[in-house]
Symmetry: C2
């Protein structure tokens, strides 16, 4: 039986997951895995476009494509592979340059190569007595699984099929081969719709009760072939060529053309792969794993791709073709079985595996076929691997001396480290749940990890249940800062609206908690206490489970697996190498002592952003904050006294809270620096929503509700109306608040300094750095620095104590970046707030853009990346470069960091390294990611 | 009688008005008026700090101060002035450098100068028989009227007073002089509160029934002097020095110190005057206009300061002191009277006037005193003048050969041109109204000009009344785009909220209509139809008058004076010179044919911004626009067809409207270019307000209103909720709309091109330039250019017609500026939208910032200028420079313009010139301003 073992459907699977888009595949990266080129044979004279596997002149992966390169390399290692040759990517590029004319000499070179192949195989293309059949396969330098075309069994025609039937004594098999070739050639080369063939075939199968054409008899196959030929002629006015040379030319050009197929273009756009590389075409003699009982087909990994353990791992299916292995129609056995069935073949595979690992310096994924006891390797490539396996392989291969530490650090994708650290759903349990129909909806995977818990709709309720020891999943239509305490209490978050940069998503990633957002079919109804999708209802109190990577929401419990960094010894080791290699400091954004503790555990060297306002949202403080805000209105712009008593009274209470908070943080930090940002958000964020109160008032008025309630609500409404802004993002917030209500910043500054003095007096070092947000003009910073220093000096004078401190600013508005020289005159450090800087540089409001147009922009390729995830180097990055240059011009030693979301994104970290920043600051769970990314940036 | 004619209270008045802040006084400008220095005498040896008037060695205004320079120049011309000398600004600066120690040799030099003065006058300081009295006067290089100190009658003491009494035979006069000196010295030099003296004096006056101390008898004056001396001693523990040398030193240092008085610092900050110049001190012998009947005092202008006419203009008061002239206690006669009373003095004044005009090349404001038939000039300086006079003087002085055209162009402040072109209130009628108590409130002068009309509260009503021929003033709490048709119909606009860059202000200035905003005490109640301020109520339908420069709102009618450019022949001439001198093109922002016509009349060379959406707000179209928007929701992102029928139907109707609009505009333009911007604002701006509909729905629900109404409103509310944005400024607008709803931009493009073809087929040239708003990424522009060109080519193919056109973009987001090289690949022109660019660069929302913090920022000096009025060169300007460089790198011939508010601001125009833009575009009424400012920029 003659089957090819590597059908196109079995190309490596595209890994899914929210973070995948960031992992740009670049040729340079793959090349670094290429062993040094050997001095050696130059290609045969006149071979400009074609390289045979055994005489490839050390050509690169770029020229030969991944498949051709692997086959050539294996040939050069003396490993058993089928004969064949590769038409280079240069031929493909020449074809496109020549407006789809095959370059001069291409066909004559291909003919020479075919003749050589025939000579080696003792077979001839189109010879019914000893036919050479080949596969014609695409292979770009960068793997693009399933994106481009392949034609198998090429060389067959009626005469050849008859010959095979005659010689094999199995006409059905021969005609099945022929039939498959007609369909594949018709589709790929001649452009016939696949459905035209499947229509015919399915009718025959239904009629005969067979599962596949290989089970049909010779007569039926003859009849289908004839119908297939009719299908091709009807659709194209032409027939499938009988001449193998013509077949070959058609197939080669079709593979070339498939480089610019719509799906290939989309794929490259999506993964950021260049369109300029072209594809190579490998022409490979076919071998057959279903020849007899000493034949078979298999796949093996040189190390366990799930755990990284160094053992041969894979499957083998005896007397079978590759398609069967993939389709799951038969159950393959573990590859270790082969050691009993064909020990010599097994040990040959083990030897090959070792040799290939050594050759490529990485774990390999190898496809092979055994034909009558003879082993053929059909493909080798770097093995896909789980995050855990990636880390373990990298560390162990270094220990084995296979690769250097530098290579190990480059080998692991930083996002894989993140995935390793979050709890995840037990995948077998999840699969079971899918089978049982418990999948309720699929939204956007907004923050990876798995969680299972009681469904809750209210932040206070979530907190209450969590305090009682329950695990809860919080579901909201969308979240706001008022929900944060509930998000802190929950193990997972679900929203029906918003994208992967919505409030829910950003906060969840910051907390390292799984989150699913924007589940389109999902309704979240907090009032009635249910979620619903496609008619399926889950009510409050029921268990749900979510997968924040896939976006899946399940009914019922699913076991979660809980990792811990200390148990990840390979990661701990890898990250210690990263720390040696990196130049950038890695700090963390953390608002609470527990976050600070987590950050330090993950290796943070300081706190780059402590958002004091998050402390304001704690429920027991929120009332006090509201009293303060409503009273503050009368105190605007009055630097001292004369001000509403409630205002100062509530500030005094808040000062007590904040002092205690900061003390706790300084104690955890043990002398590491803490950048504490003064109040930033618009005040109305702390108040009930204008629309809600408006509704209340109108209702009360219409219904004639109680007079006092109406009066109170109306008064509140008036206040809210005064605070309301058309564009709050660009309104009264940040240092504008600090200048309008000086007492607020003074209170916060006193709390920070008092806390620092208290902890310092216990003998522990403290390094408070006070950060002023939203500066757009040097004068704002100048005035506030003066005010805050006056407050601090007054405190020092009163108490007779003192402590070292710094006062600096966020650079989060374009003007701040453009005038950084002036701002650096009074700011002792800069921290780039790239979230806001991206908003103003692009003129995008995160709150609005995502739902309204940003996702579409990404889909349509108008934006290559989401600038809120990956720092936009041409715009925002340009401003950072300008600010860095200007800031250092004024103060050569000014400390520069970044504290936006981008501080945890590998590509953005690379930019920060190149730009010469001093540190990046990110959420605690991304600290390990940042350490590795910083090391990779330093290694270049 | 001995009085000095130039009391400090009579220094030139500070001109008020909304545009004044822009007119930075710079020394360089004043210096350019200085005639070339003469080669001549060097100062006497050892005169390092002091220059006598007749031996000033050609020292500059910078060294001598304005007053000292004028006196010295007049001396050198041989004009009659009192003797004296000047202590230079360098002495003042040395004093401050030396930590308030008078520089070495200062006093010895002053003593020498006094001795020389005594010798010339035949009088001696402190000599009772022949006393020299002097005034000690401040005088900075730049005039700072009333800001610094002066001491008169210095040199008097008890002995001298007795001597004067004896010799003049008028002891009361002598003691009055002495009394005044004690008070002035006590206040200015010794820091005694003025109220301490006035308390004493007022009691005496009340007791005696006299109006001033000069009417008291000798004994009373003696008594008051004694009480004054007590006041000084009680307050300071010291006595007013009797020694004239001591008096002099004290006065000189006090004048120095007054350079850094709080009010002087504030004044310089306000007018942008450098703090580094210091003041000079002039010591001048006193002369007396009330010596006898052949004495007197007067002020004259060399040309009429109101009309500019070339005639001597001024007032004279015989036998009087300067204070009387100022106080209005006596009525002065016209200066022409003098030609009868003292013809030789009059003709001497005429000769002096001519000489001084020639010397300074400008109209002069001259103060003089006649002492017993002898003329003394006391001061000369450039005359303040009305806008009309400024223009006429500049043109006529050029025609007379007094100055060059270049000087004439520099002489007129561009904002004066603007004031000349808007209607204004008849000032005598306005004064009458003030006296009658008809002034209702004073707000911010947001757009200059005067208007009188019926008070109206509703835009539709305003339009209806205007159509009936009524003149209406529209009053609103604040305005929104929905009010624009009412603003168009009104002759003036009043709002109770918002500042000088609020929507109302910006639109009014664009329309050249008077506007008063943010009248704090004013309540505007459209529902009940009244405005109210301090209890005064004006109801709907009553006449009101407003002055958009002063911010005054009057009850009742006040005559307005209507200018026209063609009647302003001097201005027409001046602007024609400006056109010859300028390099920048001056285009206009205009949305309607009538605006285009006005713009051309004012000299616009093209239309730089035609906002198509303003056409959408016309009432008869708004319904259609709303239907389109509500239907559009279902059509988002579907490039063709499959879309709601209502959407396309309403677009088709709008296309008809727009085509007609554009045709009309092209016809007026007669081949000049027109930059037409595609739809920009967020769609919800065209819809009723979310809050209003929410109130309706809640009310209907609570009250159980009609089911269909409730259903319709609820549906509308749902739509509005979907369209609602947290930060609409940064949301779905501009080209984001064009990409989401391609049919809208296609409709507009077709309308533009069809209109162009229609007009072109009539034989008239057309130059449509289609402008895409809010681009932040090159890909947006690339895609839209492709789409729009496809639409245009389809139109050309269908109709067989064609026309030249361009497609370009606004640069109004920081990222667009930073990536202008990429955008220039597909944009054929750039227009800097500096309104939005300022918002995003600063992170200020205009709608919010002004009321919430911007005004306070300006008051507190945190911002030196309102960046929405004067282009912020360090931030926004930097981006414009970057974009200019990058844009030209890609396309050396790309046309660059500016179309924000700044296009009509002189300082911003100077920046545009320096940066190398091709044109500025501003509202039609500011086109003459821009022409002049562009000329001034070119002249440097």
């Amino acid at each position: 039986m003659l089957y090819n073992v590597v059908p196109s459907a079995k190309e490596e699977a595209v890994p899914n997951g929210v973070f995948h888009r960031r992992n740009r595949v670049t040729l340079a990266q793959e090349d670094s895995e290429t062993p040094p080129e050997e001095e050696g044979a130059k290609p045969e004279a006149g071979h400009r476009w074609v390289r045979s596997f055994h005489d490839y002149a050390g050509e690169s992966r770029e020229v030969l494509g991944g498949k051709g390169y692997g086959l050539a390399e294996m040939t050069s290692l003396g490993l058993p592979i089928p004969e064949g040759f590769t038409i280079t990517t240069q031929a493909c590029l020449a074809y496109f340059r020549g407006e789809k004319q095959a370059p001069e000499d291409l066909w004559s070179e291909v003919e020479l190569a075919i003749r050589a192949l025939e000579a080696r195989r003792g077979q001839r293309l189109g010879d019914p007595e000893s036919p050479l059949l080949v596969s014609v396969r695409s292979g770009a330098a960068v793997s693009m699984p399933g994106m481009m075309d392949t034609v198998l069994n090429l060389g067959i025609n009626r005469g050849v099929a008859e010959g095979i039937a005659r010689r094999s004594g199995n006409p059905a098999f021969a005609y099945d081969l022929y039939l498959r070739f007609i369909q594949m050639y018709g589709e790929v080369v001649m452009g016939v719709e696949s459905s035209h063939f499947s229509g015919v075939r399915d009718e025959w199968l239904a009629h005969s009760g067979a599962a596949s054409t290989s089970q049909l008899d010779f007569e039926s196959l003859e009849a289908i072939i004839s119908e297939y030929q009719g299908v091709v002629f009807d659709a194209t006015g032409r027939e499938v060529p009988e001449d193998p040379e013509v077949q070959l030319r058609g197939a080669v050009l079709s593979v070339f053309d498939s480089w610019y197929s719509a799906r290939a273009i989309d794929y490259r756009n999506h993964y950021g792969i260049s369109h300029d590389m072209g594809t190579a075409v490998s022409v490979v003699a076919m071998v057959y794993g279903n020849m007899d009982y000493r034949s078979g087909t298999g796949v093996c990994f040189t190390r366990n791709p799930a755990t990284g353990e160094r053992t041969l791992y894979g499957e083998y299916l005896a007397n079978a073709q590759g398609e069967e292995l993939v389709s799951g129609a038969s159950t393959p056995s573990d590859i270790s079985e082969l050691s009993r069935e064909m020990p010599e073949v097994y040990s040959q595979i083990v030897d090959c595996a070792q040799l290939l690992e050594k050759r490529f310096g990485d774990a390999q994924d190898i496809e092979f076929t055994v034909e009558s006891g003879k082993l053929y390797l059909l493909q080798t490539r770097a093995a896909q691997r789980s995050p855990r396996a990636a880390v373990r392989m990298a560390v162990e291969m270094t220990d084995e001396g296979l690769i250097s530490r530098e290579q190990a650090l480059k080998r692991v994708n930083p996002d894989q480290v993140y995935n390793l650290l979050v709890p995840r759903l037990d995948q077998s349990a999840a699969e079971e749940a899918r089978v049982e129909g418990r999948l309720v909806a699929v939204g956007l995977g907004a923050s990876p990890g798995g969680a299972t818990g009681r469904l809750t709709f209210n932040a206070d309720e979530a907190q209450r249940l969590a305090n009682e020891g329950a695990r809860v999943v919080l579901a909201r239509p969308e979240t706001s800062p008022e929900d944060v305490h509930g998000m802190l209490a929950a193990v997972g978050i679900v929203t029906s609206r918003g994208g992967t940069t919505s409030h829910a998503a950003v906060v969840a990633r910051g907390l390292g908690k799984p989150c699913v957002t924007g589940a389109e079919t999902l309704t979240v109804n907090p009032e009635r206490g249910y979620i619903m999708s496609d008619g399926v209802v889950v009510t409050e109190g029921e268990d749900v489970s979510i997968d924040g990577a896939t976006g899946e929401i399940f009914r019922g419990e699913i076991t979660t697996l809980q990792p811990s960094i200390s148990s990840e010894k390979h990661m701990v080791e890898l990250l210690s190498w990263a720390d040696d290699a990196k130049r950038l400091g890695v700090w963390a954004n953390a608002d609470y002592p527990r976050d600070v503790r987590a950050a330090l555990e993950f290796g943070a060297e300081g706190i780059g952003l402590c958002r004091t306002e998050h402390m304001f949202f704690e429920p027991e403080r929120l009332d006090m904050v509201r009293t303060m805000i409503l009273a503050a209105h009368d105190c605007a712009d009055s630097p001292e006294g004369e001000c509403d008593r409630d205002f100062h009274a509530s500030l005094a209470v808040l000062e007590g809270y904040q002092t205690a908070d900061f003390e706790a943080i300084f104690r955890v930090l043990e002398g590491r620096p803490a950048v504490i940002r003064l109040l930033d958000p618009p005040l109305h964020e702390f108040l009930p929503s204008f629309v809600d109160i408006l509704e209340d008032v109108v209702e009360l008025r219409a219904a004639g509700g109680p007079v006092e309630t109406l009066a109170a609500k109306t008064a509140l409404l008036t206040h809210l109306e005064e605070l309301r802004e058309v564009n709050p993002m660009l309104g009264l917030r940040g240092c504008r608040l600090g200048l309008k209500f000086p007492a607020i910043y003074e209170m916060q500054t006193r709390a920070i300094i008092a806390a620092a003095c208290n902890v310092s007096s216990e003998g522990m070092a403290v390094h408070p750095e006070i950060m002023v947000p939203l500066v757009s003009h040097g004068n704002e910073m100048k005035l506030l620095r003066k005010n805050l220093e006056a407050t601090i000096n007054a405190y020092f004078d009163e108490t007779g104590r003192s402590v070292e401190y710094k006062i600096g600013t966020m650079i989060e508005l374009p003007r701040a970046a453009l005038t950084a020289d002036e701002i650096a005159e009074t700011a002792q450090f800069f921290s780039f707030g790239t979230n806001d800087l991206t908003q103003t540089t692009y003129g995008y409001s995160r709150d609005d853009a995502e739902g309204k147009f940003l996702m579409k922009y990404l889909e349509r390729g108008i934006l290559p990346e989401d600038p809120f995830q990956e720092l936009d180097r041409s715009g925002v990055g340009r401003l950072i470069e300008i600010a860095t240059r200007l800031g250092r011009k004024t103060d050569a030693n000014i400390i520069l960091g970044i504290c936006g979301e981008h501080g945890g994104d590998p590509s953005s970290i690379e930019f920060c390294h190149k730009t010469g920043l001093d540190y990046v600051s990110c959420s605690p769970y991304r600290v390990p990611v940042a350490r590795l990314a910083a090391a990779q940036a330093a290694l270049g």
